[in-house]
Amino acid sequence: MSTTDAALGDVDFELHRRRFENATGGGLALGACDPRGTPIWPGADPGSLFTRTLAQLEGSGFVWDCNGHAFRHRVLDNGHAMVHAPISPPPAAPLGYLVAVGQASKLDASAAGFASTMRALEDTAAAIRAEQKLRRELDSLALELAARYDELHLVYSIDSHIRNFSGGWQVFQKLVELCAQHMNADVAALVYPTLDVTLSATNLSKPMFNLDLVLVELRGDLYRFIQAGKQSVAINEAGDERRGYIFTGMPYKLLASPLYLGNSVAAILALVNHDDKPDFSASDRKLVEVMANQFSNLLHMYRMLEEQRTFNRQIVAALIEAVEAKEPYTRGHSERVSAISVDIGRELDLPEAAIDALGWASVLHDVGKIGIPDAVLSKPGALTRDEYTFIKVHSERGCEILKHIEHLKPVLPAVRHHHERFEGGGYPDGIAGKSIPLSARIIAVADTYDAMTSSRAYRAGRSHEEALLEIRRVSGTQLDPEAVAAFLRVCGRDPAWIRTFGILRTQGDD
């Protein structure tokens, strides 16, 4: 289909023909052809007067141009005559010609009524032109609308991914994949050199053998180029002079947009296509800028969350330091109990949020020991009843300390109850069974294990195997059998922490 056909192809010619017939009283065959005389309308009917006339003219050296006149008149050699007028007025290049053919008598230039027939022909040509123009305008509006739909779709998709954002790079990876898919790009990449992060997704139309090298180029020269230019860049042509310093020797098409943190370019979002794919268009560029913008906001959130997390970790580290400074022999106890508790939690398939809370609770479970006199804490040997009372308040005390931190609300029950006994009779509340929060029951197992295997002021640590025997023995009385079973399954897989925590083994291996 030629472009001219497309330009007039959707005009409602039948309507125009009826109007023309009404104006002229009929008797003329009306048709339209492109600027070279190829029929556009009506369809090819070899028998029709219009088609026969056009066929006859083709190859006869006939020139369609009206030379700036509104119409041209020609007497044909078969007793017929023809008039044609350009569709679109001079000096514009004609989209095509409107042609009327009929008996020579009907189209006699000297006859009365010829002038009004010609006016009707010109009016019809003008009406076709007007309709065509409106249709083109409508089309361009529709295409503009299509581009907006694309944008909206993209923003909504990004939005639905972001809604569950809780930090971490996974969401960025997902978004990069979305970008490759939505933009139908061979490669999409988010490059954040200051954090040494490059996330990429491929949606290859054909293999790309030097993908690693492409990513290196993105991280290096392209990133620096955009950082300096502070705007999006599209490179399509093989001869683009910017290729001299970006993507040297690689024929790919490239589209990249900056991500801002404050006023500086922190990262870039880049698309790479094989050279046989269509050029990156203005609307592609717009879309990538929209995405880059969303990424920037997300990056900002990510940074804030990271800062918050670092702060939390540091506060917790300080609290642990405070406890361990008082009780040097239990150094590392909090971390060990935490690692083991989290392993048990995962073995029990706890949801991620519960694992998170378990992690905090287990690392902070002994924070209440800050309130216990040093003499009691580090006393070798058995404690008197009064001293033991001091020890017993530490779980409540821990709860008191941590309740000042809003964020740690969910971990308070675990801290309070980690010394309850499964059959009841523990402290501080003496509750039993499932009334004890699961996280507290888990921490109790890890705590008991670590208390046995680590060395104290008055004794050396026991071996892993001895500790397991003891834990099995107290399962169901002191400890929750479910948590114990999960712990034993974890131990069955010979977890790395047995070695990293330097726990003794009796059965000779290691």
């Binding site: 089309d139 529709a142 299509a146 779709h153 993209l154 998709s157 139908n184």
Partner: protein, 121 residues
Amino acid sequence: MRILIVDDEPHVMRVLTLCLRREGYEVDSASDGAAALTRIRSQPPDFLITDISMPGMNGEQLCRAIHAEFPQRRFPILVMTSMTGCENREWASRIPNTDFLEKPLSPRNLIARLAGFAARP
């Protein structure tokens, strides 16, 4: 490749028609479920894209009617549904060869999906 679009919103229809024609697809349209059924009876399309909320017979009813009348149909159905809403989608799982297309609709995305379908054996 002939595509039948069923939607009562003229702007959606216009945009889709234009974008698909530019990609070389032949596009036919119907503004409600009943009209769509008539079209399918006279000439089954290669693809059917339908909106879900329409006056008269809606998208779900149309899909059920098509499945009842043409249980062996070859052409895939794409149902346009809101990305943000929470319409029930479960009914579609019982009608084979039916999938969802999320609104706001992206013509770019649709064309990629169609190409993916066409490439399927």
